[in-house]
Each structure stands twice: as structure tokens, then as C-alpha cells.
Symmetry: C2
Subunit: 337 residues, 2 copies
């Protein structure tokens, strides 16, 4: 198992990437190919004990910066860490690609370098999201790859999400739902009203439409939406979690006994924070391209990088690309269209 | 000031509606017209001390139920509390209408009974949302009236929201933003990319595009989106607040010292809950119809009804309909189109 890691991307740059790679190589016993500028990578590697670890460097001179225009950067920076890493995946020298860099750039580079799975119209970016289901999370897609969609794209997102939940998240017969403004079939946008019947007739375990407030209760294992709505939803969750914490802190600080109370509850608060840690949720797969691509949160620290590498390993081991291909074959309405 | 209240609607029915009306009549010294089945209303009124309060009954035999099909119910139930109350507003016998009933029904009844303000293409449902701004909240619209929109609708939502924030929420020169997937102009859907330039060229105080995570930080006073995305956003916030509370409770209950800590922090938790109480945020105006219409949360209890009546009173006193009309005149690009 060889994972090609973009050693240059992310808000925390090479320091976080290399540290996360060392951690993952040790914990999972796999090869992590560090793709990027050799001098920078070597300097970071010198900070760690890497005895017995397999951390080869794949040289790439350029970097797609966080503020680069995605498509333009991918075209002009042929020797960037992203483009080089994806070439390695394409050539079969790497089993998966992980990056915390410019996510639009990663999407463009993956489309350009790997291409789409045959019959897949658009790749989708997924993420797990905390719920009260027995699994503790659901899989939500698309969260940002496609801001303008058609019904058949959403249908394919449902199919890809279902196979990902089954093969990689070990959720058997995952319950698939459409994110809408009400459970009733007549509610929601024209788009939703066109997709729902397609899902109903499919072999997927479609459980109907769900509202934004139902996702955390665990009513579905795979929640399907367009990339605009999905992006607003997960960023909204981030914002709401932030303001809840902020407002609660303010009320606590205004009361000395409450400050003491918070101190006593510290262990519980810490345990809770671990469970909703973005670092556990940030590494999301880009499904629909011809290879395993994991796009981690731009803010990723070493722990988040390690986690994204683990997700990549699981996706590669469970042959998610082949699973989607066979799923397309079994799903008559979309086959060959 | 006379407010026509749908005394039959909402999950908590006449009990909550009449109780809220009594409360509001006493606190605000205004007339609340209770619209609905007289026997039911009288039975509820008998539970309260209504001496010196002005709570006339406007009889209406039928009720638009929570699960009725909105448009069909409005057409067939001509003597329903919603239709009768809106007729009273239309005829100038009431200054505003408040309901916690079937919100789709309220929208259809308002469109049918009052019509749209001239030149307004679609009415929009707004709500205030807690933020860290100096005002403590922003105004978010549309949150559900229009699941399929065009650029000019969003432009008008911005205009109506801006006037509502100014006239009713007392936010001068409100900062207007578009909800998108990034601040950058090239991000977001085709829709967003068409609306942003229109807003830039307008007299509104347009501050650009904002992400879901930025709303709670208070970067804008009026956040404009389509009714599908807005509905998913606010329901998502409800769901996230729920799961945070649930997960935190579970961690606390697993630790005896944390349980004690939570007990000590009880006052702070209670104060926090009051601040994010849906009952303070639930009553949202339907802007763009020819009259003041406030649609309260279906789960409204008496306190929420009282609050919705207060919002209706403020909107009527500050002549929001006239403000929108004059705003349309001043906004050349939309005038007469």
C-alpha cells in the first residue's frame, strides 16, 4: 500500500503534512510517498525519528497555492505536487492521493490527471457527519464539487455514496436519503422532485427525503444533495457549533460558580470535543474519479493528515473505484447513458 | 393597532394561541382579534383573566390543518381562520396577521388574500438568526417560501430584507450579503454569480458573499439566499444545536464530577438557552405581500405566539409594506419590470 501525499499543501504546509505522514507510516505500517520540494521535505523529516519507516520523496518543484485559480494552476503548474502525485496514481505507482491543499485545485488536478469513471457525469466530494445512528455518523455528499447540478448527477451521487458507505464505512445496505425542505414528496425544489422517483425505482435503499434538522438524528446513512447546499450545510454546522460554544462560554464566564462547574465538567467537554473534532471528519473522498483521492480540510494539523491517510488506505484497500464501476453496471437506468 | 391571530393553527392549537394572545394583549395594550371557531376560543378564554383586555372573536368555521395541501385548502376552505383573518387585513379591519399554522397554507392564503406588492415577483419568508454582531442577530431570507428562484427574485429579497432590517429591526444601513460557498466572486452557483453584480450596482449596502460558517460571526445584517438553501440552513442549525446538546449531555452523565459541574453551571446554561430560544427567533415575516403577515413556528407555545404578535406590531407600526414600496421606486433596475 503506497499513499501519495501532497507534502506542500494546506494552511499548515509541509510541517503538518510531513508530521502526519510520519505518524501514519508508523501507525499503519504503510508507505507514504511525500510529493513536493525535496529540500523542504528533507528539512521536515529531519525533525522526526523515521527509522524503519518507508517515506520516499517524489520530487515536484511547484506548488498550487491556496489562492491560485484551480483550473489555471493545474494547467500551468505541470510540475506541482498535486499534478505529480496524481500522475503517480494514474501510472499505478501509488494507490491513493491525499492533500490538504487548495481543494478546487485538487478537484481540477484529479479530473485532469485521473479522469472520470466511465458513465459518471460529475465527481462529488463527500464527508462524514456526526449523527446519533448506531454508526455515529452518516456520509454526506456533495459538499462542494458541483454547485450547479442536474437530476442524473444527484442520482449518481446517491449511488457512489451508497457504495462508499457499504465498502469503506462498513454500513451494510446503507439508507439513502435526499436532503430537502420536508419529508413530503411534493416539497423541495424541482430538482428534488425529479431525483426522488429515480431513486425510488433504483436498487438503492432509498428512504425518502429528509430535512436539515433530521440529519444529526441518524435517519439516514447517506445524505445526497448538490454541492452548493451541502457546502452551506456543513459550513453552517461549523458556524453554529462555534457560536454555541462562544455564547455558552460568555454566560459561564459571567458566573463564578459556573466557571467552577465548567472546570469540573472539563473531562466531559474534552471528550465531547474529540467526538466532533473536524480532524476526524475533515478527510473526505472525491468520488467518481478514476482513483482514490482524499481531500482533507485546509486547516489540517498532523493528526488530521494522519486521519486522511487512514481514510485513503481504507478506500484503496476496499477498492472503492471498482465498487462504483460495478454499481453502475447493476444500476440499469444510468448504465451507458 | 389590531392584530388578527389565527386562533386555530399550530401544533399546540387554540390553547397556545389564545394564551399567547391574552399575554400579548396585556403586555402590549393592543387589540388581538381571535379568528376561528367561537366555541373553542371562548372555552380557552375562560381559562384566563381577560378583564380590561380587548380580545374580540372573528368567527371562522373551518381550519386549514397542518397536513392539508396548502393551495387546495385555501381554495376549498373559504371560511377557514386563515382566509377569514387575511380578508380582515385586506379590508383594513386588521393591521397584521399572525399564524402558527400550516406555513405553506399561510403563504398560499396570503398570496391569494392580499396579493403581492406591485413589481414584487415573489414574497419571501424571513427570520432572525443569532450572531455575534452588535445587534445580536441578522435577518435571513428566504427560509422556505421559494424553493426555485431566479436572480431577480434574490435581488428583491435583498431589497425587502434590507428595508425590514432598517425599519423593523432598527439596523441602520444594514450590511447585505449573499449566502455562497466562498467569499470569492467566482465561487458559488450560476445564480449567485448573476445576482452579485446586480447587488453591487444597487443602492443597497452590499458587502459581498458569505459562507455558512460566517453568518454567526456577524459579518452581515441581512443574508440573502433561495428558500431551499435557507430552509436547509436554519433546520441544519436546529439539528446541530440538538446533537451538540445531546452529545455533551451524554459525556457529562458518564462522569459524576461533570454532573456536579453541570449543576453548578446551571444558571449559565439556562441563560444561554434563553438567548438561542427558537421562540424568540421563530416568528418570521412574509415579505412582499400586500400586508403584514407573520408566520410563527408550528411548535409555538404561548410565549412564542406572544413574541410573534410583538413582531407583527412592530412591522405594522413601522409600515414595512410602504417602506418596501418606496424602496422599489428608488431601486431603478427593478422598477416597473
Amino acid at each position: 500500500m503506497k499513499i501519495a501525499l501532497d507534502a506542500m499543501g494546506g494552511d499548515n504546509g509541509s510541517k503538518a503534512a510531513v508530521h502526519g505522514a510520519v505518524w501514519a507510516a508508523r501507525d499503519f505500517g504503510i508507505t507514504i510517498q511525500l510529493v513536493g520540494q525535496p529540500d523542504t521535505i528533507k528539512a521536515e523529516l529531519a525533525e522526526h525519528n523515521i527509522k524503519d519507516l518507508d517515506l520516499p520523496i517524489i520530487p515536484a518543484k511547484e506548488v498550487i497555492e491556496m489562492d491560485d485559480h484551480p483550473a489555471a494552476a493545474v494547467k500551468s503548474k505541470k510540475d506541482s505536487s498535486m499534478v505529480v502525485a496524481l500522475r503517480s496514481v494514474k501510472q499505478g505507482n501509488s494507490d491513493a492521493f491525499v492533500t490538504a491543499g487548495n481543494s478546487g485545485g485538487a478537484l481540477a488536478a484529479a479530473l485532469f490527471g485521473l479522469g472520470r469513471i466511465k458513465h459518471i457525469k460529475r465527481p462529488a466530494l463527500g464527508t462524514i457527519f456526526p449523527t446519533e445512528s448506531e454508526y455515529g455518523h452518516c456520509f454526506l455528499l456533495d459538499v462542494g464539487a458541483n454547485t450547479n447540478v442536474r437530476p442524473e448527477y444527484l442520482f449518481q451521487f446517491a449511488l457512489m455514496g451508497s457504495y462508499y458507505a457499504d465498502k469503506v464505512l462498513n454500513i451494510s445496505s446503507p439508507r439513502v436519503a435526499l436532503l430537502s425542505t420536508g419529508e413530503e414528496e411534493e416539497k423541495g425544489s424541482i430538482l428534488i422532485q425529479e431525483v426522488a422517483p429515480m431513486l425510488k425505482q433504483s436498487a438503492l435503499n432509498f428512504v425518502g427525503n429528509v430535512e436539515g434538522k433530521d440529519i444529526p438524528t441518524g435517519v439516514a446513512d447517506v445524505v445526497v444533495t448538490d454541492g452548493f447546499t451541502g457546502n452551506v450545510y456543513i459550513k453552517g454546522a461549523e458556524g453554529v457549533a462555534w457560536i454555541i460554544q462562544r455564547m455558552l462560554e460568555r454566560e459561564i464566564k459571567a458566573r463564578p460558580t459556573a466557571v467552577l462547574g465548567a472546570l469540573l465538567a472539563r473531562g466531559a467537554i474534552k471528550a465531547f470535543r474529540t467526538k466532533v473534532d473536524y480532524r476526524e471528519f475533515g478527510g473526505g473522498p472525491l468520488l467518481g474519479v478514476n482513483g482514490v483521492v482524499i481531500i482533507a480540510h485546509g486547516r489540517s494539523d498532523p493528526y488530521a493528515i494522519r486521519h486522511a491517510i487512514r481514510v485513503a488506505k481504507q478506500a484503496a484497500e476496499n477498492k472503492i473505484v471498482d465498487a462504483i464501476k460495478s454499481g453502475l453496471k447493476d444500476c440499469a437506468p444510468m448504465n451507458g447513458k
